[in-house]
């Protein structure tokens, strides 16, 4: 490849990435403002009592699905956090656990829990299969209870997931619009005890949460595996088994719902928290799975593109999102290194204007601002989203760009090889034991409700 061709390809890749990422982030910030919310919304949220403030008048029945495989370390607080509301039913899907997940869940129950035990060889077929089994039970219960599918909301939670206090009061009104089929909550990492865990929190809380609001403006917010709400009538329209065997069954469901014309939303004034993974090896394993699912979902671009129910902007957004690993991450993993080589070998030419320490310092600063502009924006966003975070930590997280690049490079190539080798095995993320402090204090259920939006808190907007 000649240098002009390299420059052109690099320019196109950078500009595509900037156009998509910058576009949804900008749209997200606009939409955030339009909704009258402050960026630090939920940054001080309390978790574990999602039913606080729920109106007696809302017509919805909520069914939580919690797929579990050896979740004894975390299941009890989750059960306690999701029960306690007479219009909610919790279904723990014990997918053939070897430990006491089912027994521990039952022990924490206050009468609204159903444990659905799956045995081998039907068990351990992946999260999608477990969720489909849980949904079959939901359908049976809904029919027995004479409930309307359009008024039944199914919420998928991870076994370590906790919904923020008052989450349902913020989420359920979205379903008053009959076109809304799904909603995904922003995700917070609970155990932020190392830079690796802070990094995951930064990706979810500062970057993904804002871009999700931008995507929701186009009605195409993506669904994730934790804090995923969907209307039963929408799931029924997808088929008997709405969650596919894909490695990212949540993304697959989001595409299917969007293609059928359902609006996909998010709600920044509620959130869900979960454990992060505490080692780089596990993080890479998890991200390879996500990348593989994301890349495989690329085959559905045509389906989204042809959908008469999707707006043009929605079709463009879905296509852009699904193309990112193919047209940005893969080529960028090569172009990035050629670019560095070019930068180093052409440094005398590029810095030919340097004739003293003043121009050298000025040139260095301009080059830094040019090369690390996304990092500076990330630092700003991190400071705004996480109230009270140390400035140095936000600066370091914002400048994780290099680390993020290399995690993406490793994962996207590994995922590509797995696709080519037709390997689609699913390795579940291992949970960590948590200290007592992470448990939900029982007496907290009786305390006065705090406003979940944070809009009326004393702290000023930053």
């Amino acid at each position: 490849m000649t240098w002009p061709a390299f420059s052109a390809v690099a320019l196109v890749v950078i500009c595509f990435a900037a156009a998509y990422s910058g576009g949804v982030m900008f749209l997200g910030l606009l939409e955030w403002r339009r909704r009258g919310l402050a960026l630090p919304t939920q940054s001080d949220a309390q978790y574990g009592h999602p039913h606080l403030d729920r109106s007696d008048q809302d017509p919805y029945w909520v069914y939580y699905l919690v797929p579990c495989l050896n979740e004894a370390a975390v299941i009890q607080p989750t059960v306690r956090g999701l029960t306690g509301d007479r219009r909610s039913t919790l279904i723990v899907i014990d997918d053939g656990s070897d430990d006491a997940t089912g027994e521990l869940a039952r022990a924490a129950d206050d009468g609204q829990l159903v444990v659905l035990r799956r045995e081998l060889p039907d068990a351990r077929k992946g999260k999608g299969a477990a969720l489909n089994a849980g949904l079959a039970l939901v359908r049976r219960l809904v029919a027995e209870r004479g409930q309307q599918p359009a008024q039944v909301i199914v919420c998928v939670m991870d076994a370590d997931g906790r919904l923020s206090d008052g989450a349902l009061a913020r989420v359920l009104p979205h379903f008053d619009d009959p076109r809304v089929g799904g909603l995904q909550l922003p995700v917070r990492i609970r155990n932020r005890t190392s830079m690796l865990l802070w990094y995951q929190d930064y990706c979810f809380w500062a970057l993904a949460a804002v871009s999700q609001v931008g995507r929701a403006r186009l009605r195409t917010a993506s669904l994730g595996g934790n804090g995923q709400f969907s209307r039963l009538s929408a799931l029924n329209g997808v088929g008997a088994e709405p969650w596919s065997p894909s490695l990212t069954e949540d993304l697959d469901l989001a595409i299917t719902l969007a293609v059928q014309g359902w609006h996909l939303e998010t709600e920044p004034s509620a959130s869900v928290n979960q454990q992060g993974v505490d080692s780089m090896r596990r993080l890479l394993k998890q991200r390879v799975r996500w990348y593989q699912g994301h890349m495989t979902a690329g085959r559905r671009i045509g389906e989204a593109w042809r959908s008469p129910h999707l707006s043009n902007a929605g079709a463009l957004e879905i296509a852009g999102y699904l193309l990112i690993p193919w047209v940005v991450d893969l080529p960028w993993s090569i172009l990035f290194h050629i670019g560095w080589y070019r930068f180093v070998t052409r440094a005398p030419e590029l810095f030919s204007f340097v004739d003293g320490w003043v121009s050298g310092l000025a040139g260095g600063l301009v080059w830094y601002a040019l090369s690390f502009l996304p990092c500076l924006l990330g630092t700003w966003l991190c400071l705004r989203r996480s109230r009270g975070i140390a400035r140095w930590r936000a600066f370091v997280l914002g400048h994780n760009f290099l680390l993020m690049n290399y995690i993406a490079f490793v994962c996207v190539w590994r995922a590509l090889f797995r696709i080519l080798l037709r390997k689609d095995g699913w390795a579940k993320t291992v949970r960590l034991d948590e200290p007592e402090a992470a448990e939900i204090p029982a007496q907290a259920a009786d305390r006065p409700a705090s406003h979940p939006t944070g809009r009326h808190r004393a702290a000023p907007r930053r």
Binding site: A5, V12, A234, N236, L350
Partner: protein, 209 residues
């Protein structure tokens, strides 16, 4: 299959004539993109020719471009004569070629009205061309004012930022124009005065995909 109630209706109906034009227009756009990527010296000559008066105006100096070449000489008849060549790395031809190819693919898929794609393409290519003209003018002005140091600043640092921002904005503008009808529809859907669609009918047993 149950699908969501929609206020959008079906996408706009394209006329048969426009549909018939799509394949040849797409081929022309793709071929033009490929040709521009492979052979763009004529385009660089054009860029130099159009930028020369702007450079002359901004530097208040005498400027000359020898016919058929892509080099602008500025500051003629002064001790500060400077030559600027629009190289294959500095031309707007390659990002425009990529945009032509993208427009060709979008035309072929039939999702967007042809007129919108062509209008968007015209706007975005004009934008990229204008941004590069601005960049060349800025480099000429900086070189004339501060000599080689000014050239270094304007060419490698500020110029790169200008091009990145300009091309990204052009891509966003192109896609926004292509999907513009949908943006209007989305706004209408958000308007509370929009009559709500009928509630989703309760359905019984799940249906197959």
């Amino acid at each position: 299959m149950v699908s969501a109630p929609s206020v959008f209706g079906t996408p706009g109906r394209r006329s048969r004539v426009a549909r018939g034009f799509r394949a040849p227009v797409s081929l022309v756009l793709l071929a033009a993109g490929l040709a521009l990527a492979l052979e763009n010296s004529w385009f660089r000559v054009l860029e130099a020719g159009t930028a020369a008066p702007l450079v002359g105006f901004s530097t208040s100096s005498t400027v000359s471009v020898r016919p058929g070449t892509e080099t602008i000489f500025l500051g003629l008849y002064t001790p500060r004569v400077f030559g600027l060549t629009v190289t294959p790395e500095c031309t707007a031809a390659l990002p425009i070629a990529a945009l032509l190819a993208l427009a060709g693919v979008l035309t072929l898929t039939g999702r967007f009205p042809l007129a919108r794609i062509l209008f968007g393409l015209l706007a975005a290519t004009s934008g990229i061309f204008a941004v590069n003209q601005f960049r060349i003018t800025m480099i000429g002005w900086a070189a004339h004012t501060w000599g080689a140091a000014g050239y270094g600043w304007a060419h490698a640092t500020v110029g790169s930022l200008v091009v990145l921002a300009g091309v990204s904005a052009a891509i966003v503008a192109f896609l926004a124009i292509c999907g513009g009808g949908a943006f209007r529809s989305t706004r209408r859907a958000l308007n509370p005065s929009t009559p709500a669609p009928p509630a989703d009918p309760p359905d019984g047993a799940p249906k197959g995909r």
